[in-house]
Symmetry: C2
Subunit: 299 residues, 2 copies
């Protein structure tokens, strides 16, 4: 199979109770593809400015991320600045400088057109048609969304939910999208809007996966030391889709395991700032934590 | 084995988005013993006024709850009034009328003195000595606490943590008690204060059980229809301790299963107002949901 991730590659300035990092490499496409790289060879579609460091490109390549779809444009790379309070679920966006991302019209290399899984990470729902027109016939279309699109492009988003196979949403997004406070009701309602699977991410409380006649729950890894929550949701999606890409079929067993791998990858990324944790993370550690999850919940 | 529960037997006036119920039977001892009654024959120590309905006594007896320790005093039964918002985790106490509970000096019937498990539900930590002096030598001492005791009797509470085997706490209490925002750090820190086991209840997100070298996580049953959250925490403790009483030993396997049964009983009680759900709940339904939990988390 093959997995194409369309998303942002960016600089993040991050402040958490553990410190501050200026302009470190981040972005949904970056986190997602690095997480997926433990299972498959993900392909990325994105754009950066000329200020994007060669070392970051080299690191992504060393993780076997296919960067043929990463365009370099004159101008500056997308820059996001955010701050986390003591409660890592409380995030304040201090600044968003879209820069070259502003006019991003994702061009999909012809080598990517036969992708089996296409993941649209935080993409304007009005831009989906343009992107999807460049693919032949993906077996699985996955997307996530953000509060901003839910509030400003609700109709376009509802339309996209009608054709998507997998939707990733966090608790706030699921509540906004469904109008339901109860997360189980929210997940079930969103499945009713179209997606075969809704992956509802609950941060430190894990995730629930809803299907038409299927429900699976996975805990978050019990971490007492969350250094930087940035990218946890994107790493979850990357682990999930990367595993599915490797597994090849969407059986219930594979979906369950994909959710656990998603939770595993999310649990690693928050152990250090930005994408730092990926530098030392190897496949054996990923497998080790997967087994830990089984011990954590078996009875 | 045998389980003695020392706690309140009360009237609750409850308002939730689903309606209002005036002066229905509740109280920590009531919920806890009803939940435990699916596994053992729990013994209750408490006090009510002469206004406490005979039908409620008859119902508790029909569930084989031993009421020899329930004193009837002249005066009115403890009455609590509370309101829940759309988010069932947000509870406002409207009124607390302690009535006969105010001067409650729990007298333990001699027939209860050989109890194996003693559970002190929301009891003033300064009153523990008086109660525990009436037992021979319980194998397991369990307790929970409330925000009020943490804020007003912190030292007495810390002292009691030194001799307790199992502490039940919800997320807010665990944070207050430990000073840690992160729930895993909070649970680990409280284990360091004395208890062999800390059962950290997270409402809709399930529970974590911390031991010195042990960690287990259980989800909440995915309910889309929470009618009345009152008593969920007490039912969790009742299911947990009732199962342990029946199982007879605190092996890791039994502790894991106890936590799942706790979550199962909590999930039932919130499906209707007050203790209503217990009226129709049978052992087969409890076992059925226990098996559902396994399907929910297995991968």
């Amino acid at each position: 199979m093959s997995l194409v991730i369309v998303g942002s590659v960016a600089f993040d300035t991050i402040e958490t109770p553990f410190g501050r990092r200026e302009r470190v490499v981040g972005g949904s496409g970056t986190y997602c593809s690095l997480a997926a790289s433990y299972f498959t060879r993900p392909r990325i579609v994105g754009v950066v400015g000329r200020d994007f460091p060669r070392r970051a490109v080299a690191f992504l390549k060393s993780r076997r991320v296919d960067l043929r779809g990463l365009k370099v444009r004159s101008g500056k790379t997308f820059h996001w600045e955010g701050r986390y309070e003591k409660d890592p679920n409380l995030r304040t966006t201090v600044r968003t400088e879209l820069n070259v991302f502003k006019d991003f019209r994702p061009e999909v290399p012809s080598a990517y057109a036969a992708a089996d899984i296409v993941y649209l990470a935080n993409i304007d729902p009005d831009g989906h048609d343009f992107i999807l027109g460049q693919f032949r016939r993906p077996k699985v279309l996955a997307m996530d969304t953000i509060r901003f699109w839910i509030e400003t492009k609700r109709e376009a988003l509802r339309r996209e939910l009608g054709r998507v196979d997998i939707l990733f949403a966090n608790d706030e997004e699921a509540r906004l999208l469904s109008g339901e406070q109860n997360l189980v009701a929210a997940g079930q309602k969103i499945v009713g809007l179209g997606p075969s699977l809704v992956v509802l991410k609950k941060g430190e409380h894990g995730a629930l996966v809803f299907g038409k006649t299927f429900l699976f729950g996975v805990l978050a890894h019990p971490s007492s030391n969350v250094i930087d929550p940035t990218g946890a949701g994107d790493a979850f999606a990357g682990g999930f889709l990367g595993y599915l890409d490797r597994a090849g079929t969407l059986t219930r067993r594979n979906i369950r395991r994909a959710a656990v791998y998603g939770s595993v990858l999310a649990s690693f990324v928050i152990e250090d700032f930005g994408i730092e944790r990926f530098r030392t993370l190897n496949a054996m550690a990923v497998e080790g934590r997967f087994r830990e999850f089984r011990r954590l919940v078996s009875f």
